[in-house]
Point group: C2
Amino acid sequence: MSDRILLDYGNMLATRLGGRGIANDRLAAFAARFADVHAAVQHRRTAGEIPFFDLPHQRELIDRIREFADGVGQAFDTFIVLGIGGSALGASALAQALLPPHWNELSDEAREWYPRLYVLDNVDPTTIAPLLARLDLRRTLVNVVSKSGATAETMAQFLIVRERMVDVLDDAWRRHFIFTTDPAAGVLRRLAADEGVPALPVPPGVGGRFSVLSAVGLLPAAMVGIDVDALLYGAAAMTERCGTDQLTDNPAGLFAVLQYLAHTDVAAPIHVMMPYSDRLYGMADWFRQLWAESLGKRRDRNGNDVFRGPTPIKALGATDQHSQVQLYMEGPFDKTITLLTARTRSIDLTIPPAYASIAELAYLGGHSMGKLLDAERRATTSALARSGRMNMTIELPAIDAVALGQLFMMLQIATVLAGELYDVNALDQPGVELGKELTYALMGRPGFASPGDAPAEPAHICR
Amino acid sequence: MSDRILLDYGNMLATRLGGRGIANDRLAAFAARFADVHAAVQHRRTAGEIPFFDLPHQRELIDRIREFADGVGQAFDTFIVLGIGGSALGASALAQALLPPHWNELSDEAREWYPRLYVLDNVDPTTIAPLLARLDLRRTLVNVVSKSGATAETMAQFLIVRERMVDVLDDAWRRHFIFTTDPAAGVLRRLAADEGVPALPVPPGVGGRFSVLSAVGLLPAAMVGIDVDALLYGAAAMTERCGTDQLTDNPAGLFAVLQYLAHTDVAAPIHVMMPYSDRLYGMADWFRQLWAESLGKRRDRNGNDVFRGPTPIKALGATDQHSQVQLYMEGPFDKTITLLTARTRSIDLTIPPAYASIAELAYLGGHSMGKLLDAERRATTSALARSGRMNMTIELPAIDAVALGQLFMMLQIATVLAGELYDVNALDQPGVELGKELTYALMGRPGFASPGDAPAEPAHICR
């Protein structure tokens, strides 16, 4: 594959940052440690602990998804995903990157008769009620995505949407749903069997945040015409590329090691992902879950309290130059900034040379808007480096399915490598259980104790 | 005013957090310091240094905006804001909060014949070109918002959109623009005069991030039918409420002091703003600029290098319980989480009691979706507190213009108070100049030096 993702990481290193940043020899000396970490991940992979590596090779599943999407699926005007967290973020990122902007506002013809797409990833009735009131449910297909089949938010959405469908369609409601859930266990799998609703699998061991290349992300992608084969081709190529234990040849390894060293050597625990592209902002949101939920852990692998984890942030260039860059340039030296860009873009606009006598406008004329965006990005990396601020750039060959597949897989592999470096289990999320249990209690679910009375001390409320 | 914003800050204090958090007596002891800080801000206000305080009382401007929006403005189907940073975030936050969701997808009737609204806050041609290609420019009004009139991104947009308008409308292009800019100086003011384009003022001394209650935010709001009088009424009421130097009665003061003490006493420099409402997510984005750009400063007021400033983050409940809360619960104790909610909501949905024999679904039946969202929020505050994590809740009486006006003003006042606490100038942004100059150089603007050749050391690139 010639169209590969490129990592430019010179601005993470002390030589470029006037002595701040990661010492160049420290990175070189880390190569041996990286080889161990890489071997540990390969070992876990071989032991079947990290099955997301194998998602690009599920031929049978992919055929089934394409058959569904190209057949039954195209009978619908609207496709709704009910899901939250990892059940939603991958589909949203793909749609934002690869569909024309404002997709749902476009005519049928402009959408090439692919359906409108709504990813409902919250339980806010002020969003969902107006949407349900105006959709034609007879032309709507609903994809309920929950690995466990017990996610409170998603199942509440399901119950509401199902009732509306029954009102309109009676028994035929079943033909307007498709579930994506555990292949054997859980409520949704049981309902699929009992009700005769089709259901796609989330493979065992593939957690929500690593599921974009499973049916969780692929069905929505296929439904709106995204080339899922190209996506998986890119992902497989990146897996192969990251098979090396040579740190400087391994983009996932470099990303993980540089962010880890920035955190632990240089005291920069805040990791900003900043695409210079509206299309890639959803990727930053997807990454934010991946990095936070995988690495933010109370206990290390030996069970010791460590309260570890970097804090990921999404930002958008050039927009956030007018919002966050003041802080990135002048605030504490506690951040890395990873810029995302693409070498080519599908569309550009020329800035016309009007008002040539006005200096504040004249220099813009004749350039393309894409050139301006690139100039802003390059200026930002330079300005950050001159101010001693660590930054790196991930350059995609283009914003297309092959490149997205590479990027998803690179960041997923980087995350499990980072889990080894931080010595935490990157695949679990024990910290969300207490909140779930307290929610159940507040909702009156039998067997869950109330959070208890308010503390006896006086309330601290300003009214 | 009985419908006031409420702050519940008990979970910021050590008594609720098992000893972590802000010591209760420290807050009490800080009351005297706060009185000084409050007096300093009042002094600056009286000296005319902080004119955003007076924006709610510009009767003449408000009449002019309403007259324009209700008259000429309603001849258009589509209203476009060209602006970036503070020229865009307020309008976006207002629209997201107060318009029905998916506004631009709604029929004319559902929009009550108010125009569609696009806030173009980036220079990404892959967003702008497809939009311009499908809009009917003969029915489109464009608001160019730039205080200086020299913002590169906004002026590039202007030149492109203006040319398209000229193609379609010839000399009549002028009737499809309205500028919002400095009342006397700058390129846009000059063009307004030369070309005969109407222009609204941004008062001197009101920086972009404090401009939502000026014409910058009010014109877009009025154009889509938002009650600007109610917005300003709420803002004025909050100004009055924050006139006290009694810390526990002053919501802006409490917010500023608690976040400051969390940062400096408890080493929590990351300040998360997490609305439990899709409608309020734009407020978190607006706040993120306000807090970062105002407080992230290299120098204190005496010119010493201090590299100060908390890092604001936007999050969304309940969605981010499935993305960020694992980190907030188990990661480092380096964050505060401010939840936003509303006491009442305009719309709700009932979860039907289907599948009563399935425990994972039965408990949901009969409750409203709003109750579920509230339960998730309360569960999250409890779970965070039990894990020793500082959090506070800002409760709006409702999501309406009066409440939004209160919230904008409360956070703006909190920001200038925090500027005093951090001892930085909250009103400037010197750190973005270098990036601007390097951009000019890369775009070939005369008088700006090139960033120079690439460093002589070898490139660090993984291809």
